[in-house]
Symmetry: C2
Subunit: 339 residues, 2 copies
Amino acid sequence: MIPTPSSTVPANVSASSAVAGAPAFADVLAAAARIAPYAHITPVLRSRSLDALVGAQLHFKCESFQRSGAFKFRGACNAVWSLPEAEAAHGVVTHSSGNHGAAVALAASTRGIAAHVVVPEGAVQSKLAAIRAYGATLHVCAPTMAAREAMAAQVQADTGARLVHPFTDPAVIAGQGTAALELLRQVGELDCLMTPIGGGGLVCGSALAVAGTAPSMRVFAAEPEGAADAFESLRRGERVTGLVPDTVCDGLRGTIGPINFELLRAHHVEVLLVSDAETMAALRLAWERLKVVIEPSSATVLAALLRYRERFAGRRVGLILSGGNADLDNLLSGAAARV
Amino acid sequence: MIPTPSSTVPANVSASSAVAGAPAFADVLAAAARIAPYAHITPVLRSRSLDALVGAQLHFKCESFQRSGAFKFRGACNAVWSLPEAEAAHGVVTHSSGNHGAAVALAASTRGIAAHVVVPEGAVQSKLAAIRAYGATLHVCAPTMAAREAMAAQVQADTGARLVHPFTDPAVIAGQGTAALELLRQVGELDCLMTPIGGGGLVCGSALAVAGTAPSMRVFAAEPEGAADAFESLRRGERVTGLVPDTVCDGLRGTIGPINFELLRAHHVEVLLVSDAETMAALRLAWERLKVVIEPSSATVLAALLRYRERFAGRRVGLILSGGNADLDNLLSGAAARV
């Protein structure tokens, strides 16, 4: 499934950007073809008023309209459909009560194979209901990372299911890159691309897509100040894993993976920090001007554009709005929340 | 600008559906060509989960993504660009602090002519700011319909500006019909179409588009129980004008116009009532499943589908989500509202 870098680095990508064990641009192209029958082509929205506010030309790639409500379906779908038949027959397993769990469940259902999703005690019931509605089997464990990994290993041992990691799996990274690839096919070359960063699957896949399509483009990642492990890792030159996340961006609390860290460095991705207050202001702006329901994690990209606007003045910027699974119970007030 | 019915009724529309003084299908076609350089082609969204909930195949025409955030731009744009040059030079005037006011302001700006918008004292400042941002001149008057009409007449007398009525102007009705026309071109013939009804511009334009494109389709209008003048008018067989509206749907408080009433009857439009609680539940559902910010008026169509679902079982239904200018200050809670 994962060719060696030497066989997949296209001519227009410098050898220095190839990372051992990591996917390459050819894998993003293959992923795009593989998931095409199942994934949506998502729209790109523009807003004159947001362009004026930032002083740049913004192209919003709305993965909030992707199946399962987030870009995560791309990577999960690529991973599920990359499995050889005999391996796929045992199903897939992951540990996530968020968008990746739902995405793996839905992706498995498109292939008609079993999905096991390990979720922590106390997870939001509505999210669990969504995962169950896609046909997955839930496995509840204690709310620690160690318990989740142990339970996932147990499910693997019991069923032979293949683990689909949310951001270090090379097939997942390649799949996430298809959103940026699709954006560039829709609007042509841009000056910059900005995605949120949590574990690093989306931004690394995006960097691969950009390197193979429009290598002069710069890639940026927006990260919450309260979960700044990617920023700190790049600053220190080594992966920082000890931070305890504290941010409203529930999709960005993961710690960047080793392969993701190497890809960030190889592709010269720059991480820009934003505060939760800036993120929530940007969320409000996106809802108001774009009329799109996005979750807080997605709003970080617009928040970063606004905070560092002088760096993007006059540029054509692509922004990946990563998902729309906002917690409406918390965000809506009054009648709209209680009905 | 407004051809006589005999010259415009196409062969596939029965003569009985022609209403004296009203636009016809040919006017909708002409409007579509006229506004094409200025209006957006809006996307049609689908949702497997909403289909399952209603038990029908739903096609959501998202006018929330239309310029100015509502279908109103279509009618205003058609009215503005239908004016002869000499008349246009004097500008246009309307009285509305809502979506129609903003739409007329923006439409006038696309032609480079003056727009005068009469607004009542105490109107929401953010809406006035939007109208002003499109370059219109605001005229503030007392918050009664009589004062608004008097002020509009005064502006007409002073400037020679042409009045663009929000729902009785034939060019406005024809323009609003372009949303349904576009929907049918995007998804093909459907079994039914459902739009909200306030003054009746959108549903009447839609009925014209349907009659000329897919005459076997049924047209429905969703109306708040607290503003049921169209429902009552059809029931009694005469236009009811004395009702005092009481509904969260601020876009649907207008009283149906005379020409709109005649078109409703001629095209056998059926009005379905929904409660505000049903509308707010549907709004929540649309935000959650479609990931689209819509305003309460728009949610009436989904509310009606849910309330009368047995009537639409298995049908292919088009729904016009009329606008996305939701009052986020009221709808959002906590941090999202106060930033």
